[in-house]
């Protein structure tokens, strides 16, 4: 190692110390802590989401995907906190628990293809890419979509295809989809998306203001093509508890 490299190394170390950027090992530890936080939340919401834990494959995917790559540099030290974080453009990277819950609700399988409306940071797509064969993701904000496409490519998520477009019409070329995940605010469930959903498929839509996701709406298309919606709350709320 030349003196120049040494200086650069020391400088980088100082920058990391100053900015609170943890090293790779540290990230692994933080990721495990995040998994533990998610499991705690799952246990606390057990009676509500009717399960004691998320699918093991989902948790493995969350263990594997480096969330810190998807957050802005200034928030690296908070990347693995169980909270939503701002990523610019008025968008957020969702709370890990919500990402886990949404992914789990889709019942992902290795042979499936999933459509995501609202690529955002790319984190949700990266998690899905570990679980399904193909992820198609559409982003409406050009600048954000381009940046995330580059990031996903750099990180080697080859089974994710991104597209800058209006998510309302879905992506008919690759339809039908086993699952659809919509992270954009919508006034109604877009009929084209329902049409592009396979029979027996599921669509998940988080509803609520950013930083305050309150519940998820699940759209299910049964084998006869009948469509129902169902609300899934990530919180315990049951009327008539008589607890007060």
């Amino acid at each position: 190692m030349s003196a120049k490299h040494l200086i650069v190394g020391i400088f980088a170390l100082l920058v990391c110390m100053h900015s609170g950027i943890p090293g790779a090992d540290n990230y692994r530890v933080q990721r495990m802590n995040m998994i533990s936080d998610i499991q705690d939340d799952v246990r606390r919401t057990e009676r509500f989401i009717n399960k004691k834990s998320f699918n093991a494959a989902v948790m493995q995917a969350m263990e594997k995907v480096p969330r810190h790559e998807f957050v802005p540099t200034e928030l690296l030290s908070r990347a693995y906190e169980n909270r939503p974080l701002p990523i610019g453009f008025g968008q957020t990277i969702s709370q890990p628990y919500i990402v886990g819950l949404m992914t789990d609700l889709l019942h992902p399988r290795a042979d499936q293809s999933v459509l995501e409306i609202g690529t955002g940071s790319g984190y949700q797509a990266a998690i899905l890419s570990q679980l399904v064969a193909r992820v198609y993701s559409i982003e409406i904000i050009e600048q954000l979509g381009n940046a995330t496409t580059k990031l996903l490519s750099r990180l080697g998520y080859d089974n994710i295809k991104t597209h800058i477009a209006d998510g309302y019409n879905g992506w008919p070329e690759h339809a039908p989809y086993d699952s659809i995940i919509v992270t954009a605010a919508i006034s109604h469930i877009p009929p084209p998306l329902v049409q592009q959903l396979k029979k027996g498929g599921r669509m998940v839509i988080p509803v609520g203001t950013r930083f305050q996701t309150q519940y998820l709406t699940m759209v299910e298309k049964d084998l006869q093509g009948k469509v129902t919606t169902r609300q899934v709350l990530p919180v315990i709320f049951v009327p008539f508890t008589g607890g007060h």
Binding site: D41, G88, G208, P239, G242
Partner: protein
């Protein structure tokens, strides 16, 4: 600069005080507008409330440095004027540079530091104004009521000026105008200056004014939160701002997006074969998006028939005349038009919104083919409902975007549209066979729609409908619910049509007179069929358990407690807070907690500001220690009482004047101007009479305040409906006349208190001024909190009690 002092000066700079007070009140109103645009209404409420503590800080500051400041009165007065002018604009610019995100405050502790910094910055302009006024009172201590009277009158007229200016100028431009107005107050404080002094002062003022005038516009451009709907929409490809208009009510922005259509269709059925046509998006204060449809032919309107709000047109296909309450950007007008309705009355208090469809985008909206059958009335729905008309159908909502309601940002807003009295007046407007249709966004967990149902049932019962269960139909889509009320029983045909409409569109039934349990919760599955359970429970007269035990407050709203959007319930707080992570806070909604946090912050700050000077005064003066308790109680109670009554009257007049905007302007103007006259009357009496007159006037004014307030509590609900139907100018005049005697009496106690102290404890006058300032801040928050809990009549009664408490202490101060 202290060389300029002329100790012989004997006339207070009244014109300066008038302009300064006027500019300060206008600035306060402007800040509320500015923060509502760049952040959200509830945040604006919190920041401005705390910023007004500048008055409290001023009291402490002057108490501590009284002698030194008075010694250099003229210089200090001018300096404070200059500092107000410059800080009013500089502080806002600085706050805009802070990376503050109100939404993230529950997650990120660093946001609190930024919030604190915002408070401190905004406190400064109010501190400087308060310094100038309080020092003038100290300097001209024989004329305190005169100075105070001019201060109040200036502030009262400032309220009207700013409302008028907001009609013609944008808020960012007004920031510059108010800073220059504030600075110009200095020109009227130059009497008794010698030539050199004048030249220096005028130079400083002109330099400051030039600086403000030449400030680059980019510094003043409003930076909306990136999380607001408008900010996010403007990031989309090829989107452009098509039209912007600012009014005292809101800033309206119209956005066009040729590349990515907006497609706003609240609760559109999944069975709809068609979607919305091309649309323009309309944002109010950068959020709450509604849309204007591009009407080309009848097919562009077909989608309206697949929304839950189309239900009444299917139940009564032969409907002829419709009243649309809150027509906004015209969606409900088009829905009625698509059903071939021959006469449409639409009510929209915001003229700017109506102008978009009748003028600015008339061609786009095809107003030409509508104008012969549609009449838009610029009045509140309640004001219109007070008139005697007869409709086959009355339609209300949904309005704006859905997210706000669930986040609780409107919890602090009063609404007279969904109170028991309001629904009763709508029912009265119905033809014998008519329908009242109310559509709201749904929220999860359900709250707004349940509250509406409970309110509707109560309104029907109070209207003499014995068995409302036979008169109600209720359906829901995945994000809207439509409630249908009829004065008479729903017929079998009508019930069948509700079923047919819902089934064909996959909407769920929540209530029908002959509903069975297996009909509910089929398409939009809830974990518990809470809508049906609520209806069943509420319609069973004997069972109020459901409402009592529900985690949210779904008790009906009334005109006395018009907080329809507040669902907070103390008994659920612990349960919510025990939820994982931050979700519990999300469940409560941000409105009510904002109020509590603001109150806590204001109380702590007020406590410090009131007690801190005492620590120093004790060292200087011990003689007056025995009266300090009386002074604290007196100035706290009259400060609280004054604002309690004023805030209650803003609400009472909102109903009478049919426009919240007029209510604020008229009430502030009337109360401040008449109070100012009351204070001038005190000055007039004290010129010719002895100090004993203080006690007499105190007795009379407080007795009058108590008596008139109690009379109004009884009288106003009785006369409101009669006044509501009168012409606009008569209604405004009535509000002025009603305010006059009460406000006149309310202007006396403060002046009398200070006049009494001038005899006994003059060194404590700035401290009393500060106490009163702190009380004003506390009262603004407390009044809302009390109104939510006990109603505005309760707030007025509390004010009476506070004034009587003040009376007892005032007598001791005057003795």
């Amino acid at each position: 600069m202290h060389a300029m002092i002329d100790e012989k000066t004997s006339t207070p700079p009244l014109l300066s005080i008038f302009i300064l007070s006027s500019a300060a009140l206008a600035y306060e109103v402007l800040l509320i507008r500015l923060f509502s645009i760049i952040h959200w209404h509830h945040f604006s409420f919190m920041v401005i409330s705390i910023a007004l503590l500048g008055y409290g800080v001023s009291g402490s500051f002057i108490t501590l440095f009284r002698n030194r400041l008075l010694q250099h009165y003229k210089s200090v007065f001018i300096i404070n004027i200059v500092l107000f002018g410059l800080s009013s604009i500089a502080c806002f610019i600085t706050i805009q540079q802070l990376p503050f995100n109100a939404l993230e405050i529950l997650w990120d502790s660093s946001q609190w530091q930024r919030l604190l910094l915002s408070y401190l910055l905004l406190t400064l302009p109010f501190l400087f104004v308060a310094n100038a006024i309080a020092l003038t009172m100290m300097r001209f201590n024989q004329q305190i009521p005169l100075v105070y009277g001019i201060d109040l009158i200036g502030a009262g007229l400032g309220a009207v000026f700013i409302m008028a200016l907001l009609q013609i100028l944008t808020p960012d431009t007004l920031l510059r105008v108010l800073a220059i107005s504030g600075l110009s107050a200095g020109f009227f404080a130059l009497s008794n200056f010698n030539k050199t002094q004048r030249r220096v002062t005028v130079s400083i003022l002109l330099l400051s004014i030039s600086g403000v005038f030449m400030m680059p516009q980019a510094w003043l451009d409003l930076h909306l939160s990136e999380y607001k709907g408008l900010s996010q929409t403007l990031l989309m490809k090829d989107v452009s701002l098509s039209h912007t208009h600012s009014s005292p009510i809101s800033q309206t922005d119209v956005v066009q997006s040729p590349f990515i259509p907006f497609r706003n269709a609240p609760g559109l059925s999944l069975q709809s074969p068609v979607g919305p046509p091309e649309q323009l998006a309309v944002f109010r204060d950068g959020d709450e998006m509604t849309t204007i449809d591009h009407v080309t032919d009848n097919s562009s309107l077909e989608y309206h028939d697949y929304m839950s709000s189309a239900l009444p047109y299917h139940v009564h296909p032969s409907t002829q005349n419709v009243l649309i309450s809150g027509s906004a950007s015209g969606a409900q007008i088009l829905q009625a038009h698509s059903r071939k309705i021959s006469t449409i009355d639409a009510v929209e208090p915001d003229k700017q919104l109506s102008r978009l469809i009748t003028d600015v985008y008339a061609e786009y909206f095809d107003w030409q083919s509508l104008k012969d059958k549609v009449t838009i009335h610029a009045i509140s729905p309640r004001g219109f409902a007070a008139a005697e008309n007869n409709y086959d159908l009355i339609i209300m909502g949904p309005s704006g975007a859905s997210s706000g309601g669930s986040a609780g940002v409107h919890a602090l807003s009063t609404s007279y549209e969904f109170t028991i009295e309001a629904l009763q007046s709508y029912l009265q407007l119905l033809a014998p066979d008519g329908l009242l249709s109310l559509t709201l966004w749904t929220s999860t967990p359900a709250r707004g729609n349940l509250k509406l149902f409970v309110t509707a049932v109560e309104a029907m019962r109070q209207s003499g409908i014995d068995k409302p269960e036979n008169n109600i139909a209720w359906i829901r889509s995945w994000n809207t619910a439509t409630l249908l009320l009829k004065k008479d029983h729903l017929t079998t045909d009508e019930i069948n049509r509700v079923r047919e409409f819902s089934d064909s569109r996959n909407f769920d039934l929540a209530w029908l007179p002959d509903i069975s349990e297996n009909e509910v919760n089929r398409f939009q599955l809830l974990q518990i069929p809470v809508y049906y359970l609520t209806a069943k429970s509420v319609l069973d007269n004997s069972d109020t358990r459901f409402i009592r035990q529900y985690q949210y407050n779904i008790q009906p709203a009334t005109d006395n407690r018009p907080y329809f959007n507040n669902y907070f319930k103390w008994s659920s707080l612990q349960e919510f807070l025990s939820l994982p992570g931050q979700t519990g806070i999300s469940m409560i909604g941000v409105g009510y907690p904002t109020l509590l946090v603001t109150l806590a912050q204001a109380t702590v700050a007020a406590f410090v500001l009131i007690l801190l000077p005492l620590f120093f005064i004790r060292k200087q003066q011990n003689k007056s220690a025995d009266r300090r308790g009386n002074i604290i109680i007196y100035f706290l109670t009259i400060g609280l009482g004054f604002l309690f009554i004023e805030i209650a009257f803003i609400q009472k007049f909102t109903l009478i004047l049919s426009q919240p905007l007029y209510a604020v302007a008229v009430t502030l103007c009337a109360f401040l101007v008449f109070s100012g006259l009351g204070s001038l009357y005190v000055q007039y009496r004290l010129r010719t009479e002895t100090a004993a007159a203080i006690t007499v006037l105190l007795h009379r004014s407080i007795l009058l305040i108590g008596l008139i307030t109690v009379i109004y509590i009884v009288l106003l609900p009785l006369i409101s409906n009669s006044i509501m139907v009168l012409p606009e100018t008569v209604r405004i005049l009535s509000a002025f006349i009603l305010s006059a005697p009460l406000a006149f009496a309310m202007g006396m106690p403060f002046s009398l208190g200070l006049a009494a102290m001038q005899h006994n404890t003059p060194h404590l006058i700035p401290w009393a001024w500060g106490i009163n300032g702190c009380a004003s801040v506390l009262s603004a928050v407390l009044a809302v909190l009390l109104a939510i809990e006990i109603g505005f009549n309760g707030v007025m009664l509390c004010a009476v009690m506070l004034y009587f408490l003040a009376w007892r202490n005032g007598i001791k101060i005057a003795s």
